[in-house]
Symmetry: C2
Subunit: 364 residues, 2 copies
């Protein structure tokens, strides 16, 4: 394994988008909280079921299958950019795509989520877990190459699932509220746990490097379920692995974002993993987040996606509140604010409301 100062393979030369508000904010420039044109905004799950054009195009195609068709990934990723005029695209994919690509027997079941045929709960299970080769996610790289030319000056965000969240799917065999078998493995067999997270860390690094080499302009590491852990558990059993991911992709020079749901207690520790931008759950005001993580980072978030189900007066009031708290975060030492939701777009969201919210944010 190469380290970041002496890596076996460097990163491809990338396009430069000096005027993209998202990238300017994500890199904390040109100045704290200065937005050359407007405050940038994108939404987690902006590509997906809230859009009728997405439901049409996915009507006869399974979720995982769709993630391995470059033209389809490109089209779905473009849909919210065309419709909402957001300031960044996020690659249409799923956090289990690299596991599937590596050969793990799993599927995404509608209404349930990822289901793993053979849960991973022993040293032998971990040893049998395949590694990911870059060419196994070649379809994702091809999709990114299509997107870079299609997007023009709109940046593209790549992403990967963080080791804890991937581990939970593998250990539980599917989505879980309690993460009971995952936590039991962590505590009872820490060597097996660390071997598992080590392999998932390698997979995430390979997946992110593939995306970066193919041309994404930023990456986000989703530790969706980290909020199920206590701070002590996160710090001991998860943080070292997530830190290695941020370290290993640092040399690429693209902004690195980190996010997890319900992570108010973990924000400082997750920030210690080394991202450039901290995504903040809707429960924690952005300026309070800065008090927890300290100054010098960009914050991203954090309108509650449920607010989009309210009347427009409420939505406008809440959007303005988030913008104010973003400004307060910058006053408290953050180097920028990227507007986003505090979790993903809910499938039942009215897409015309999302478009209107983008227009409003661009005036704030």
């Amino acid at each position: 394994m190469s380290d970041s100062s002496n890596r076996a393979h460097g990163y491809a030369v990338r396009r430069v988008l000096p005027d993209a508000p998202f990238l300017i904010a994500a890199t904390g420039g040109p100045g704290r909280g200065e937005y050359p044109t407007h405050r940038p905004v994108w939404f987690m799950r902006q590509a997906g079921r809230s859009l009728p054009e997405y439901r049409d195009i996915r009507a006869d195609i399974g979720m995982l299958e769709s993630c391995f068709r470059p033209e389809l990934v490109c089209e779905i990723t473009m849909q919210p950019v065309r419709r909402h005029k957001v300031d960044a695209a996020i690659l249409f994919s799923d956090i289990v795509v690299p596991l599937k690509a590596a050969g793990v027997d799993l599927d995404i079941v509608a209404g349930r989520g990822p289901v793993v045929a053979n849960p991973v709960r022993s040293a032998a299970d971990v040893a049998a877990l395949p590694r990911l080769e870059e060419d196994e996610v070649g379809a994702v790289a091809d999709a990114i190459k299509l997107l870079v030319s299609e997007l023009g000056t709109t940046p593209l965000i790549g992403f990967a699932g963080a080791p804890f969240t991937l581990a939970s799917y593998l250990v539980e065999g599917g989505p879980s509220r309690s993460h009971a078998f995952t936590k039991a493995l962590m505590h009872s067999q820490p060597d097996v746990w660390n071997a598992l997270l080590g392999k998932l860390t390698d997979i995430a690094i390979t997946f992110l490097r593939t995306q970066i080499n193919a041309g994404v302009d930023a990456v986000q590491l989703f530790d969706s379920w980290a909020g199920a852990l206590s701070l002590a558990e996160y710090t001991k059993y998860v943080l070292p692995h997530s830190t290695r991911i941020f370290d290993e992709v640092a040399a690429a020079g693209v902004p690195r974002i980190h996010f997890g749901l319900g992570t108010g207690e973990l924000l400082s520790a997750m920030n210690d993993a080394g991202p450039d931008v901290m995504g903040v759950d809707f429960r924690i005001p952005l300026d309070e987040a800065v008090r927890r993580i300290g100054p010098g980072k960009v914050v991203q978030g954090n309108l509650d996606p449920a607010i989009l189900f309210s009347d427009w007066a409420t939505i406008e009031r809440e959007v303005r509140r988030i913008a104010r708290e973003g400004d307060a975060a910058i006053a408290a030492g953050a180097t920028g604010h990227i507007f986003n939701l505090g979790h993903g777009v809910l499938p039942e969201t009215d897409p015309t409301v999302i478009t209107r919210v983008v227009e409003l944010i661009h005036t704030l």
Copy 2:
């Protein structure tokens, strides 16, 4: 509506259990952190699917039906007391029982949870919501009377669902992760919201008074989903209603416990509602909880139920850690510690492990 200084109906004379460790701890006596015999323990969801004798007795009986059969409620409530020797029984019931009793068309669907036939989303829906009369939950009162004689010197805890959590089921029509329609109603139509929570508060008060009059020795108010709210939302839209519940049952003189999942950000506000005992989610160390809520309250919790899936060495280490943190909470100003889980017993838990955990806690 009567207030607590001039209520229309008083409470029945109740039994006195001067030596019950649970009640001694719950009332902060005889001295801070002094346990005459042992540190008391009970578990949320101790009566339920983790017990084979429960699965047997419920095999052919629906969940809601079982909650209205006094002999069955008595037997199910007794099962974990007999088996585990816990220091308190908790009434076998469900938070939607008073809604069902009042005439709301709902059912508890296996594998899904409560499903409401006609979601409540308008002023007319709220106006049509029935009130609860004490005789409509007479079966619950009868079960409590049976239990008081059956339990001997073991205290019985009654409970009710808090208005926000009940409202979420009614507004969403069933369990929800996003609580989107609930939050939309709260923000968009605050008058309708407050009318709804007012009625649910009345129902909770009637249900708790019925239980107290029938003989429960303590009550717990479950705001299971409050952790989905920001502190600002909780304080503005929920706290006044939960406060009224604690106020209205204060005169009964039984310990009043409050608990919600994922409520680290809300602990201080939930404590402002006025309970005697604060239940603490597994994510927040008990001594940290005291720093958030201030001194003078009893803390209850907070072993992660997932830990019970670990090997015994891990379980013992974690149980001892919780006891130490309970002691640290008392050193920080709490007036007692009641051992519990930081959420309910998971259905797949090995009941022999639970029994062994009780034995261990009684030595600590």
